[in-house]
Amino acid sequence: MKLLGRIFIILFLALAVVGVTVSVTDTSASNNNYRDRSFTAENNPQNESDSTNNASPTLRPERDNHHHDSFNLFGAVSILGTIAKIGLITLIVHTIGRFLKKKPGEKSSAEKTPEPENPEKTAFSG
């Protein structure tokens, strides 16, 4: 029961994000649609009825031509690219973090008693 409640809370939060996104997307889409209609009506009054019947350019379906529809082994290179990007960010942030934590006169990490560096578990341990 407790577990279900937690799942519902997470899904509710996700739903809130989706709700905001849908409302923002709908607003911007309708604004674009209105702008497109006005533009067409001003420039080409005889086609106004056509422009309202057809979907505006912003609402046309778009297909990603650079994506393959099926499995492609060479696409594995993009996984390496993602790992490289994440690795670089991790390296930079971790190095900066260690540099900031290091204080003059402090014992080196080898001299210290190793501790589990688990910020999530130790956050409020006092």
């Binding site: 577990l3 937690r6 799942i7 997470i10 939060l13 996700a14 994000v17 989706v18 996104t21 997307t25 911007s28 889409a29 979907a55 912003t58 609402l59 046309r60 379906p61 778009e62 990603d64 650079h66 994506h67 393959h68 529809d69 099926s70 499995f71 492609n72 082994l73 060479f74 696409g75 594995a76 993009s78 996984i79 993602t82 790992i83 990007k85 994440i86 690795g87 670089l88 960010i89 991790t90 390296l91 930079i92 942030v93 971790h94 973090g97 008693t113 190793p114 501790e115 589990p116 560096e117 688990n118 910020p119 999530e120 578990k121 130790t122 956050a123 409020f124 341990s125």
Partner: protein, 175 residues
């Protein structure tokens, strides 16, 4: 007679494996050129489940940090919390906008949505943002990832005994 003690199932170890699974699925799902669109979509749907498990496993931390965000929490925890919130929002955007331009999952369950450029643009933008956010998330937990790997994966394999009584420390500090 020497009494043998059975090692207790470690929640840290479970957390570590769940995190590895989430990351592995993320890496493959983030490469639609490799998987093809259908597998890309189904993996992304599977990721919803793994993220849900990930969040449930860290529920105590989430609740404690939410409660003490403006009072007791350290700056490091606050940064971590805000980053995690952004990651959650971005993941939701990626998955939802992906469903709105779905070519495999929604047609499979009998739903047809006419995709538009707004959803497509949002999907690409949010998925581009997901990589640096994930990188930052991993970077902030790097010490834990390495420590847990050494303690729970590497040491049992090599047969070396643990240098620190990790279990007892973690028991003491668990919220």
């Amino acid at each position: 007679m020497k009494q043998e003690t059975k090692p207790a199932t470690s929640s840290t170890k479970v957390n570590w494996w769940v995190d590895i699974a989430v990351f592995a699925i993320f890496l493959v799902a983030a490469a639609p050129n490799f998987t093809g669109i259908a597998l890309h979509e189904w993996l992304s749907v599977a990721m919803v489940g793994t993220i849900l498990i990930h969040l449930l496993l860290h529920w105590a931390w989430l609740m404690a940090t939410t409660r003490y965000f403006f009072t007791k929490a350290t700056n490091q925890v606050r940064v971590n919390y805000v980053l995690n919130a952004l990651l959650f929002i971005d993941f939701t955007l990626v998955i939802f906008s992906g469903l709105m331009i779905s070519e495999a999952v929604l047609p499979f369950i009998g739903l047809e949505i006419v995709p538009n450029r707004a959803w497509s643009g949002l999907h690409h933008t949010s998925s581009e943002l997901l990589i640096p956010l994930t990188g930052l998330h991993i970077a902030l937990h790097w010490s834990w990832i390495v420590f847990t790997f050494k303690r729970y994966i590497w040491q049992p394999l090599t047969g070396r005994s643990a240098s620190t009584p990790v279990g007892s420390i973690q028991e003491k500090v668990t919220l």
